[in-house]
């Protein structure tokens, strides 16, 4: 009995020594909110070194630049502005700060470039009698080219939707897969759609994750493969239309599609966004989103700043004035060759 009590005391002492695991976040003050945000990005953001190579301000320098602008007497609006300015140094569309009144964002990846998409022009092609399957709008154009528009990977598609679309378009001479202005959504839908364009398992890229707080603490990148769908697969030429607003999951979709043999990517460079975003928060409750897991292409190259198309095409003012979408017209000509 004495031994038992002695051992119990030793165990409880050991437990007390190891202590409680508790929050390290300090009180809700502007300075503490700044420090917390800087530390979250410092320890969990996944592109620090790459962004530095691309000319972004090193994160330690960002601290030195913005910390003097923060003091405990500032208003929430002033703090929000400073924090958003600091985050914009990362030039990352996946980095956002959310308060009740505003969303801090960096959207230069598409705002600084031609839109290369007009829904009024697109309406001339889709008309009013197009079909809708899940998030897909589709139609057979006059020259027997299939046209499919997928505006958001947040709109779901099922295997049944894809079977129906593929079956409806099966007699077409080619297919235009238009993902312009698709700013992303669920990766599963992007993969499900891309799986209709390959007959064999293909290496499409790599994915890694952070293993610690250091800027270079990453896991060994693991290969990502595109598996062919068990449903109806497209066996003819396909053009994927892209613009600068193709971001995040759409960027990954384009990455996957360009590895498929009969697929040509046409249009403008995609917007990028290859880091899988995670979320965290500040002591004042503001939510922050940031790129956490880097994804690469099949050659282990970064696609954070977008993917170049195989054929560059932009909307021209002449075509636009005639009610023609230059990119759709170029894709139709390409598929008819």
């Amino acid at each position: 009995m004495k031994n038992f009590l002695l051992h119990s005391c030793i165990l409880l002492s050991l437990l007390a020594w190891t202590g409680c695991i508790r929050e390290e976040v300090p009180d809700d003050t502007p300075v503490n909110n700044f420090e917390t945000l800087w530390r979250i990005i410092d320890t969990r953001y996944c592109f620090h070194d790459y962004k530095e190579q691309e000319g972004c301000l090193p994160w330690n320098d960002a601290y030195a630049k913005y910390r003097p602008r923060v003091h405990d007497g500032m208003t929430p609006a002033q703090l929000f502005e400073v924090l958003c300015d600091m985050l914009s140094e990362l030039r990352d569309g996946h980095v956002n700060l959310y308060s009740a009144s505003d969303v801090g964002r960096y959207w230069s990846w598409h705002e600084d470039y031609p839109a290369n998409f007009s829904d009024s022009l697109q309406r001339a092609y889709l008309g009013t009698d197009y079909r809708i399957a899940g998030g897909l709008y589709y139609k057979i154009l006059d020259d027997n080219i299939g046209y499919v528009y997928y505006g958001s990977f947040s709109s779901g598609i099922g295997e049944g939707n894809l079977d129906e679309v593929m079956h409806y378009l099966r007699l077409c001479d080619g297919l235009i897969m238009d993902v312009r202005d698709n700013s992303g959504g669920t990766l599963t839908y992007a993969e499900r759609l891309a799986a209709r364009f390959t007959n064999e398992k293909r290496l499409v890229g790599y994915i890694a994750h952070k293993t610690g707080t250091g800027h270079n603490d990453f896991s060994t990148p693991e290969a990502e493969y595109l598996e062919p769908s068990n449903g109806i697969r497209w066996q003819k030429k396909t053009v994927v239309l892209t613009n600068r607003s193709c971001y995040s999951a759409t960027n990954t979709f384009v990455r996957d599609m360009r590895e498929c043999p009969l697929v040509t990517v046409m249009g403008d460079r995609t917007g990028g966004g290859s880091g899988l975003p995670f979320s965290s928060e500040l002591p004042n409750g503001w939510s922050v989103r940031f790129s956490a897991c880097p994804m690469y292409d099949a050659n282990m190259q970064q696609i954070e700043f977008g993917i170049e198309p195989d054929i560059h095409v932009s909307l021209t003012s002449e075509d636009t004035s005639r009610g023609k979408d230059t990119m759709i017209e170029t894709a139709r000509d390409f598929l008819k060759r």
């Binding site: 202590g19 809700d28 009740a100 952070k210 610690g212 603490d217 693991e222 965290s280 956490a292 897991c293």
Partner: protein
């Protein structure tokens, strides 16, 4: 387990009970407060109310001359917690099963001490309502540990009561955890990265305290108690705690399984 026998039975506790096993079932429901800290989801602590339940089975065995008791506890909780700013929520739910084996000593007359080992399995999740690709943290683990129980029956104005205190301390085990910045999407691709972690008091200092009082009302036995459940971990660079403080109340039932060797001519009354 004498103290868990109903009052009217204690007068007969010296009766020989060959080939019998005493079993006590207790079902308790509780309400309390949770503190949830999970750095995979947020660096902030979330606090809020929870509902819980606990079903316990205590059974006297024949081992070591009847000095070994087994205990099975199935319990769970659901918590809805908020951050300090009150603009975000986490929902947490856990199910636990614990099976223990205790050796009994009687000291100082009525005080009964029990000590032994227990195996514990847990399964649950914490969901964060506004995160993007890290909205949930799955919780799964097994461990073995030490347990200690003290039981003391007493009377107040001839009304019998039974007080009990139990402490449990996980010592060795394993738990699931994503790697520091690993997404569940990547895990769904089959990429393993130390997702099963060895746990010990150094990286998972957890404990459980359970204080109960049994009392009779209208011929039935009721149990009121306080449960303090501290589950913590520090693995793969991620820190986590779920601290639950619950006030519980429920009822107790007693059974005695008797193996008859020959027809009994008088009913056995426990």
């Amino acid at each position: 387990m004498l103290c868990l026998i109903p009052p009217h039975a204690q007068a007969r506790q010296d009766m020989p009970l060959p080939e019998s096993r005493h079993t006590t079932h207790a079902t308790l429901f509780g309400i309390g407060r949770s503190s949830i800290y999970e750095t995979y989801l947020s660096p902030s602590t979330y606090t809020g109310p929870h509902l819980s339940f606990l079903h316990e089975t205590l059974r006297k065995t024949h081992w070591k001359g009847g000095r070994v008791t087994t205990q099975g506890v199935f319990d769970g909780f659901f918590s809805y917690a908020s951050n300090r700013a009150g603009n975000s929520n986490e929902m947490a739910g856990m199910l636990n099963y614990t099976h223990g084996w205790h050796y009994n000593w009687t000291v100082a007359g009525k005080l009964r001490l029990m000590a032994g080992a227990e195996a514990h399995a847990a399964l649950g999740a914490i969901y964060h309502n506004r995160n993007s690709n890290n909205p949930v943290q799955a919780k799964a683990g097994i461990d073995i540990g030490a347990t200690f129980m003290a039981i003391y029956p007493f009377h107040i104005k001839k009304v019998p009561f039974t007080a009990r205190y139990q402490a449990s301390l996980p010592l060795l085990g394993g738990m699931f955890s994503p790697q520091y910045g690993q997404s569940y999407y990547e895990m769904s691709l089959g990429n393993y990265d130390h997702n099963i972690c060895f746990t010990h008091p150094g990286n998972a200092p957890s404990m459980r305290h359970f204080l109960t009082l049994d009392f009779p009302v209208a011929g039935l036995t009721f149990r009121a108690g306080y449960l303090c459940d501290i589950r913590q971990s520090r693995v793969n660079g991620l820190q986590s705690h779920i601290w639950n403080h619950s006030f519980m109340i429920g009822y107790v039932k007693h059974f005695s399984f008797v193996k008859r060797k020959e027809p009994q001519h008088r009913p056995f009354i426990l």
